[in-house]
Amino acid sequence: MSGEPLVEVRDLVKHFPINRGIILQKQVGAVHAVDGVSFDVMRGESLGIVGETGCGKSTTARLLMRLLDPTSGVIRFEGKDVAKIPRRAFKPFRREIQMIFQDPYSSLNPRKTVGAIIAEPFAIHGLNKGKGERRRAVQELMDLVGLNPEHYNRYPHEFSGGQRQRIGVARALALQPKMIIADEPVSALDVSIQAQILNLLRDLQRDLGLTLILIAHDLSVVRHMCDRVAVMYLGKIVEIADSDTLYRHPRHPYTGALLSAVPVPDPELASRRRRQVLGGDVPSPTNPPPACRFHPRCPKAQDLCHQQEPLLEQKPGGSVAACHFPLSDAEAAERVATAEPV
């Protein structure tokens, strides 16, 4: 892993305005989807972004892809400000980041052959122009992701869910991107197939030296796949650390709650652990709670938590968390199966 980051994100904000009015629309509020997020992604690393529905993890991905324009903040890719990339240099930028989506059923055009779907990026970017050349490139990709290259002329409906997700992976790899963003890549798949796709992604990432951002709500998947994990809550990163640290010494009570909620396929362990069930729902991102956004649901909240916003800072144990009263190792061990026993 080289020292210089591939992506730098600084104070990224995305608000979706809510407008009202008879003729002249005026803004009456905003959905604070992403609200001041900063992180780096190193070359060749895999970063996991986890959180509940509505925490802003998918919006962050779309901002990174520049499918959305940020309200404020800076995204630098290889040192260059993404927002300032001129129109004509935009296509080369798009080649560098590719995305894999959750639903392998709706993200493939049913009327095109698999060969055509995988070759689509070539056509858009004018690569591998010769027919034979293009076909060979596609078949190499199919082979790489574990599809039978002879199935070049088949249509998506002839493939199973897992194979369709492989098609999506092949399409994402076609342009040899530097970074891949996978948004819940396995949550629509059967359990026995999930492992196939996860192993594939992991092998590809290692073999091709890809940088991977994995967005998931499933903490066990992220732990298996990622070197580093960022936990998001209501548009903010509340904790970020390398995986070993985060899973062994979680500091933010929200991380603790998330980890505690993951069901463990071991009845004995499950009965030993004291599960901490978070009450209530995620508050509306239109009107997030003041100061620490987690305080209304936090078991450790005190007066300070609704007066002053905690900053992301290094906590004892190694992770960077935004919390006034972080979990101790003893508290973590009580609720989390992976926590280091004290």
Partner: protein, 319 residues
Amino acid sequence: MTTYIIRRLLWVIVLLFFVSFITFMIFYLFPSADPAALRAGRQPNPELVEQIRHQLGLDKPWYVQYVDYMKGVFLHFDLGYSYQNNISVKTQIFQRLPATISLALGAAVVWLVIGIAVGTISAVRRRSLFDRVSMTGALVGISAPVYWLGLLALYLFANDIGRFKIFPGSGSYVPISQDPAKWFTSLIVPWFVLAAAFAAFYARLLRSNLIDVMSEDYIRTARAKGLSERRVVLRHGIRSAITPIVTAAGLDIGILLGGAILTESVFNIPGIGRLAFDSIQNSDLPMIQGTVLFGAFFIVMANLIVDILYAFIDPRVRY
């Protein structure tokens, strides 16, 4: 909601403005005949034509004519006077309105009842004999032109020329204020003829919708609750499947209120459709403008009402 309605009403005005302008321009740029010459009689002498032209304001530049007309409409709700007979357009349209409303609303009742009933039974008893027969019938109903159906109905049932002299024939329309019974009997055949294609279309629409809805998760929930199948279909299925029907019905009724030209012609019903038809034949610009504006008004209002109704049918819709 209120702001939404106000905004929509403002749009209605803009739209009507637009419609009137286009009709005006079409008529001005491609006149079918000189209205002044038409007014002047069989052997017009040039001075008379010129005089009439001046009277009608046709010698002014087109934009002055248009502005004069719109002033009348907006300030006095005055749609001008017919070139043909010098009677106020407004008066004539209002005279014709009851016949058109009678025809449109009556037919709407007929096609909604038939369409919803047939569509529901077909969906519930999918692939049954009833389903196959009624859907084939619906295809015929959609394909049959209304004037052919109208003439056929007259040929079969009219009490003057029909094989089975059951119903009053063409031209027997009587206003409801004069004789409600006669009004009713005279409209039975026109209602069914006009409704046929709509009923067929609605039956097919509802059938396919209801079939889709019946495979929804909440239908499974309703059954899992132990509700009777009848209640599942009527309260849970139709409630959802009916929404597109409401849209279609609103728009269709709106269009028909602007005049059902073919049906009114076949059955010789003195409605707005006939009026529009005659005025086009006579190049009667104020009358054409009036009927077009009226038709457009009904369509736009129907649209608005449908959208408002939607918020009541589907609680997820918010404006």
